[in-house]
């Protein structure tokens, strides 16, 4: 629209801002997923949502997230029954003072316990690159490696700004 002598352009940098470009949002989501060690995992069973804190890692293109869990846990049995899960990754521990600076991403997707040895080797390496101290835990007979195929990312920043980002189709 009209931009003639109406307002001082020098302050009006929003128009040129890359702040909400797809590239910027993607970068911010990646930062969160790569730098945050922990996530809240939500599963469901018998109509009851259930959340648990997990250590996780994400693939470079964010199509997949991986974590490990003992097979006797509630989350494992729920995933066996219902693959639809959600994960929350956030920076609240870094920004306890400012509601505007906390960032969070909610991932929705489908989870499955890995059984194929090649797959297990590939994904456990990714998880252990980030969480080396979990080696014994991940390789334990009683643990299962869970792979989540991410469908959508809901990224929240500045208290109420929300973007939906979809990872690439193929992994």
């Amino acid at each position: 629209m009209k931009r003639d002598y109406d307002e001082p352009m020098f302050i009006d940098v929003v128009y040129y801002s890359k702040d909400c470009s797809a590239e910027q949002i993607e970068t911010e989501i990646k930062e969160l997923c790569f730098e945050q060690p922990f996530a809240v995992l939500a599963t469901q069973g018998e109509g009851q949502p259930y959340t648990a804190l997990i250590s996780f890692a994400a693939s470079d293109d964010l199509t997949h997230l991986v974590f490990s869990t003992p097979t006797q846990t509630r989350k494992y049995s729920q995933i066996k029954d219902n693959r639809q899960v959600s994960m929350l990754i956030d920076t609240r521990s870094l920004q306890p003072e400012s509601i505007n600076l906390v960032r969070a991403v909610t991932v929705t997707g489908k989870a499955r316990p890995l059984e194929n040895p090649d797959e297990i080797e590939l994904w456990s390496k990714l998880l252990l690159d980030k969480h080396g101290y979990l080696e014994k835990f991940v390789h334990s007979e009683s643990s299962s490696l869970i792979l989540v195929r991410a469908v959508r990312y809901f990224y929240v920043r500045r208290f109420q700004e929300v973007y939906q980002w979809t990872p690439p189709e193929t992994s």
């Binding site: 929003v14 909400c20 929705t108 469908v151 959508r152 500045r158």
Partner: protein, 761 residues
């Protein structure tokens, strides 16, 4: 914790404390006293008092919430002003530590009860060698003891003023870790005051000292109210030369000036760097009011020019009063007269010399008013904000924007235009013959003259006749406006489509969203008098306002309200009036282009015309050569990437209400014809020339932000929910998106919360 007593520091002792606690202003003055110079007696409040105040009143979170709502460097100046305005309101409503308040009272008891004080900012970064912050933070003079605490709070708040934030933005100072000390000094009467630069700030010449003086209080000089007398003192020859002076100014004794100059030189030696000094001559002694290093020597002024331009947008009260006088009584009548004269002159004359003369007159007039707009109208429009500050200081209301209700007026040119549109809508809804005719007209392929099309039907049908007359009047009086490189009167179909949509729900015309137009009873007759003025809520508010001002400040309060109301009206009207003037030029530029084409100097007359080309057209016609025309850029429409969808965007809640509807993104006036009533319109920036389309909106979203921008004003007038300051709104939102707009919280929700994707994979 100990009381604040430790932080109330006598001025003479201030130099013993670090600048990080007391700021440089207090320390520099204290340093002068140490070296045998005189300064008005006073004391300082260290930054600990500020920290205590912000902690006790939970202000840090409030500041955080305002400033980190969106990337600070991406806020427009109007949004920064709004954030600063709300922060100031939080500060004004906060309460000072009781022990500190008691200490201040007990300290000031050594001066007479009727003593007046200067309350000045002394922020740690201020007046340092690197940054001056000159004129950025607030200072108050002539403050009675009863108002000291109020003014201290406002000085603290000025750490977060719009000016201060912009300055920090440019200088990359950390807004978050800033704090402010305050210097309080007893005021002294002085017959002569002045401002001295011990080196020439323009050239950096250290052999010359610049001395400016005014009679009486120094703020008359600092606020540019009075033109000072200016002298140059040549250090080497010990001589004084005077710049030209007004005949009304008194002659100043050269001996006195030389004596002062010697003292200033001494001070420069003590500070070991060129300084600027604010001073007063008490009649027998030199009194130093402020000293700071000159930060600007040898720097180009360009880098400051934008900020300085911004500072001219916020004129002080006396300037605003002068501007109000000039705008109301000379500029606006002159502008209207000029438009009328051009209109009366009519179509371009065939004779080339006469045509060129007239084109030149119109072009010159356009250039002149463009400058008046920039230099006087925009700063005057700031009167709304100044009134808001005054009102809030007086009443400290819960809602810092309540003052708007005192300013609203249905006499805006845009409101009058919109009432005419409503009337046309009702006329159309009531006559089936008219509806038929208009439908047939819209079916026509060419953009014919509607009046001509209705001619025949009008002779036998009074409803058609009336519609035709009102429509013609609308074209001639309200749509003869230049906008987006064309005249709004050109596209009659577009206008008619708006009217049809307005008439499409005639049952609600009078009572629903359109009540904002305040049509007088009897279907949209223009209200002769401002019905806002007699609104009971407003009368009540006005009563409260005057009662808070009290008898003593009644005159002042009246003046402020007058400035506020005038500024409110001008803010909207000026664009429309200028649009009319531009339209007068457009017709002639187009005629000139046609003639150039006729003479074979131009291949094609462009559809969209840049008015600035008038000179090129004139020169080409005169010299018979090809013109160099400005290319009018088409608006780029950047598509949203499918991988990223906004789900929720935020902005400023600029008009309250909740609405869910389809989005219609407006890239240009061409998009107006597709607008359906009730849609949420998404704009980059709303201008008063085109706010008629808002009559159809169910909600408004705008990229440009501010609680007092045009769209906020019109949306509130019409009670349409609106959110503005939404970054990249026209790119992130697409026509057809389902939107829920929350005008109470400034939140926009896009799309429905489906989970189909998750289920299908």
């Amino acid at each position: 914790m100990d009381t604040a007593r430790n932080f109330l520091i006598p001025l003479a002792e201030a130099y013993d404390h670090p600048a990080s606690l007391l700021g440089n202003k207090a320390r520099n003055l204290s340093f002068c006293i140490r070296n045998g110079y005189r300064a008005p007696d006073g004391f300082a409040l260290g930054i600990d008092c500020y920290h205590r105040f912000t902690r006790d009143n939970n202000l840090q979170k409030a500041i955080d919430f305002e400033l980190y709502r969106k990337p600070f460097e991406n806020m427009r100046w109007e949004e920064i002003w709004d954030a600063a305005f709300r922060i100031r309101s939080f500060f004004a409503r906060g309460s000072l530590d009781l022990a500190l308040e008691k200490d201040i009272l007990s300290y000031t008891s050594k001066w007479p009860a009727d003593a007046k004080y200067a309350v000045r900012s002394s922020a740690p970064a201020e007046d340092s060698a690197a940054h001056s912050f000159a004129g950025i933070h607030e200072s108050y003079v002539n403050v009675p003891v009863s108002e000291l605490t109020e003014k201290i709070k406002l000085v603290w708040a000025s750490l977060w003023s719009d000016r201060s934030l912009l300055y920090r933005l440019e200088n990359k100072l950390d807004a978050k870790r800033s704090a402010m000390a305050v210097l309080i000094q007893v005021m002294e009467a002085a017959p002569l005051t002045g401002l001295t630069f011990t080196a020439d700030p323009a050239t950096g010449n250290r052999d010359v000292m610049i001395i400016e003086t005014v009679e009486g209080s120094l703020d008359r000089l600092v606020d540019n109210i009075e033109e000072p007398q200016r002298f140059r003192y040549h250090k080497k020859s010990n001589t004084i030369s005077a710049d030209q002076k007004n005949s009304s100014q008194k002659t100043i004794d050269t001996d006195l000036l030389q004596g002062l100059a010697h003292k200033f030189s001494g001070l420069e030696k003590i500070f070991e760097t060129p300084i600027d000094i604010e001073w007063a001559w008490t009649g027998s002694e030199l009194s130093i009011l402020q000293v700071r290093p000159i930060t600007r020597i040898n720097k180009t002024l360009d880098q400051d020019s934008e900020r300085e331009w911004y500072l001219t947008l916020t004129p002080k009260k006396a300037k605003l009063m002068q501007l109000a006088e000039r705008v109301e009584n000379s500029l606006i009548p002159e502008l209207i007269a000029e438009v009328e004269a051009f209109t009366a002159e009519g179509a371009p004359r065939a004779e080339e010399k006469l045509f060129l003369e007239s084109l030149n007159r119109r072009g010159e007039s356009y250039e002149k008013w463009k400058k008046v707009y920039q230099d006087q109208f925009i700063p005057f429009a700031h009167g709304i904000r100044s009134f808001g500050l005054y009102y809030n200081e007086l009443l400290k209301p819960d809602d810092p924007y309540i003052f708007i209700n005192l300013l609203k007026s249905d006499q805006l040119l845009a409101s009058k235009r919109n009432r005419t549109l409503v009337k046309l809508g009702s006329l159309l809804a009531e006559s089936s013959l008219l509806k038929e005719k208009v439908a047939a007209y819209l079916e026509e392929e060419e953009n014919k003259d509607l009046s001509h099309f209705l001619e025949e039907a009008a002779t036998s049908n009074p409803a058609v006749q009336e519609f035709k007359n009102v429509f013609n009047k609308l074209l001639a009086e309200d749509m003869n406006i230049f906008y987006e490189n064309r005249s709004l009167a050109e596209d009659q179909k577009l206008l008619l489509k708006t009217i049809v949509s307005l008439g499409s729900n005639s049952n609600n015309l009078q009572d629903q969203q359109l009540t904002g137009f305040n049509p007088a009873p009897g279907s949209g007759k223009p209200a002769a008098e401002d019905s806002d003025l007699s609104d009971p809520g407003r009368l009540e508010l006005e009563k409260e306002y005057y009662s808070a001002a009290g008898r003593e400040k009644k005159k002042e309060a009246e003046n402020w309200l007058r400035i506020g109301r005038l500024s409110w009206k001008l803010r909207d009207d000026d664009n429309i009036l200028l649009g009319k003037l531009e339209n007068q030029l457009l017709e002639y530029v187009r005629e000139g282009l046609e003639r150039l084409k006729g003479e074979g100097l131009l291949d094609k007359v462009p559809g969209k015309i840049a008015l600035g080309d008038w000179k090129a057209v004139l020169v080409s016609l005169r010299d018979k050569k090809k013109p160099e025309l400005t290319a009018v850029e088409e608006v780029a429409k950047e598509k949203r990437k499918p991988q990223l969808k906004p789900r929720q965007l935020t902005g400023q809640p600029s008009s309250p209400g909740l609405v869910t509807a389809m989005a219609r993104v407006i890239h240009s006036v061409d998009d107006f014809k597709n607008v359906n009533k009730g849609e949420i319109l998404v704009f980059d920036a709303v201008q008063p020339q085109m706010t008629f389309i808002i009559s159809l909106a169910g909600g408004i979203i705008e990229r440009r932000g501010g609680m007092l921008v045009h769209s906020s004003i019109i949306a509130r007038e019409m009670e349409i929910p609106a959110v503005n300051g939404v970054s990249r709104a026209t790119e992130l939102i697409e026509t057809g998106d389902l939107i829920t707009l929350n005008g109470d919280l400034g939140i926009i929700v896009i799309g429905e919360p489906e989970f189909n994707l998750e289920k299908s994979t």
